[in-house]
Amino acid sequence: MSLIVNTLTGGYTRIPVLKDLSFEIGNGELIGLIGLNGAGKSTTIKHIIGLMTPFEGSISIDGLTINQNPEDYRRKIGFIPETPLLYDELTLREHIEMTIMAYSLDSLKAWEIAQTLLKMFRLTDRLDWFPNDFSKGMKQKVMILCAFIIEPSLYIIDEPFLGLDPLAIRDLIQLMVDQKNRGASILMSTHVLANAERICDRFIVMHEGKIYAMGTLEDLRTHFNMPESSLEDMYGRLADKEGF
């Protein structure tokens, strides 16, 4: 088991945003984290990365918790945030070098992967530019690139498709599938349900800080008693019915 979240309760101040979450992601599994704005997806992600401490419950990756060894724990995670976060005064090349340094990667191997990705995202001739001047989609590509050269055991990807061109979306999906086949686990939060439906093995539907439903597309169809319907239909009708 790669990621195990056990009865997690947590939030920003004393009031918990997340209430008693439990789920697991196995090796080679791609899980879609789904929910409306404010459902608690990003807060869940922050707890898993260790940017927030749980009030109760525990989180482990490959059996390791953050308190046992924060550095090793963090090296297991590749994180792509919702909005690209880049250094104003570093070039694309320097962002890659920074990642290699921070995650103690083997420089040759990391650059090899980087070159492939640069080519895929058509960024090869931008190596000495400042990514902060790029468009939203290109910035996002830089974030994706820096996470994928780490080759971690768990990817956490927050809303990856916004701003990407159709080619890049196709390539990103291919990258995620490749990493899955390598045995990495992926937790992806997204609102683009059509994409999620296509690639995710299982889904976690969150609402008001709780897990509302969880399972494969088939499981969800049975759970909501809506056979043959798409994720989008289910989500829409569910939201109407429950008054989300």
Binding site: K46, G50, T53, I66, P70, E71, P81, E89, H95, M98
Partner: protein, 401 residues
């Protein structure tokens, strides 16, 4: 490239940027105004000290509050950037020695600052017979220790383990600082020194010697550093436009009623810049701060001439620094599409400036009332003439280019 190299580079860049902006600040005529202001304040202070009786309570309370506010200024210069929250996450341990260094740098810097504050307080301490000599080393030491306590507490709160009780931590630290100050000023300087020393030893122990895994509270580190840098740039923004602190917009719903007074929905230019002025912190903040400094300056100025020079100087500074409002309109695509002429933009700015500057001028005139009604009248008249000239002649010339 190692992490310490990264931070070395950042330090260099930070001071280079700061130096670049400070150069502009110190070239500015505003510095002259500040020097005059400091001079006037110093003059007033030394006059005041001579009138203080040894057992007066009010000056003691003022002293405690001034020193307390001075102690809350300034945090730890960590140079952490938002992107660190993604890129540097696995470098928890490597960050520790770097953060130690940053703590030491800040401690040294603010110790010097607090020593200056303590030294400035000496004449008052002597007049109040809190200290028998004209220089009390224990008061200097107390203030330095209290600032170290403040910084240590901040450093402690950067670690995840402490974050749950952030609020209590700040309250108890400030409470302790206040108690120590009150003891120093009202009871005994040496007792205050002992309290300060004990608290620093205790906080040092909790922060460094208690064994635990360091997990940095990245979000807090990032937030605190962002706020710190913004405070510095907000100060610099008083003099020149920097890329930081620009576009900081606050809703300020309460001011909606005030906005209506300025603008009766007659033309889009005024409609827009009035709102820009009130909601963009750099403009309204600049106006209120300069008006306030001007007010204090004039309040403490002993002669008519000083009051006149002061009020004209501040009106000029305020007006001059509001002129970039025109650029905001020039940069907006909407004002290129609207069927209006360039002169309409200028007219809008003239109207806004006339109102704002007249308000300041009335404030300044009221501040000079302690020179009598004559002074009030002269200051108001000269200011009004100056504003008329500034708005009607200078502004269009300057903005037409």
């Amino acid at each position: 490239m190692s992490l310490s190299d990264v931070f070395k580079k950042r330090t260099g860049y930070y001071y280079k940027q700061l130096g670049k902006y400070l150069k502009y600040v110190f070239n500015d005529h505003f510095v002259i105004a500040l020097l005059i202001l400091v001079g006037a304040l110093g003059f007033a202070y030394s006059d005041y000290v001579e009138t203080v009786s040894a057992d007066a309570v009010l000056p003691r309370i003022v002293l405690v509050s001034v020193v307390f506010s001075a102690l809350t200024i300034g945090g730890i210069r960590t140079l952490i950037k938002p992107a660190d929250g993604v890129f540097l996450l696995p470098l928890e341990e490597e960050l520790v020695p770097i953060m130690h260094k940053h703590l030491v740098v800040s401690v040294v810097f603010f110790s010097v600052g607090m020593s200056l504050v303590a030294t400035a307080a000496m004449p008052l301490l002597e007049a109040l017979t809190i200290s028998e000599t004209s220089f009390s080393a224990s008061f200097v030491l107390t203030l330095v220790l209290l600032k170290i306590l403040d910084l240590l507490t901040l450093y402690y709160s950067f670690k995840m383990t402490s974050s749950k009780n952030d609020f209590q931590l700040i309250v108890s630290k400030n409470g302790w600082i206040l108690v120590t100050l009150v003891v120093s000023i009202f009871v005994s300087l040496s007792l205050g020194l002992i309290l300060a020393l004990l608290s620093v030893i205790g906080m040092f122990f909790v922060t460094f010697l208690k064994k635990s895994v360091t997990i940095w509270h990245w979000e807090k580190l990032i937030d605190t550093e962002q706020k710190r840098v913004q405070t510095i740039y907000r100060l610099i923004n008083l003099f020149i436009e920097t890329p930081y602190g620009r576009n900081k917009v606050k809703r300020r719903k309460l001011l909606d009623n005030l906005i209506v007074l300025f603008d009766k929905n007659t033309n889009p230019h005024l409609y827009y810049i009035v709102r820009v002025f009130f909601r963009q912190t750099s403009y309204s903040g600049l106006y209120f701060r300069l008006s306030l400094i001007g007010l204090i300056f004039i309040l403490f100025s002993p002669t008519l001439w000083l009051r006149l020079i002061g009020s004209l100087l501040f009106i000029y500074l305020i007006g001059f620094q509001l002129l970039p409002l025109k650029q905001i309109m020039d940069e907006s695509i909407h004002f290129k599409l609207y069927p209006y002429k360039n002169t309409d933009k200028i007219k809008a700015i003239q109207k806004l400036l006339a109102i704002l500057l007249m308000i300041s001028s009335i404030l300044f005139s009221v501040a000079s009332l302690n020179g009598g009604w004559d002074t009030f009248g002269i200051v108001l008249l000269v200011n009004t003439l100056f504003i008329w000239g500034f708005v009607k002649m200078y502004v269009p010339k300057r903005l037409e280019r």
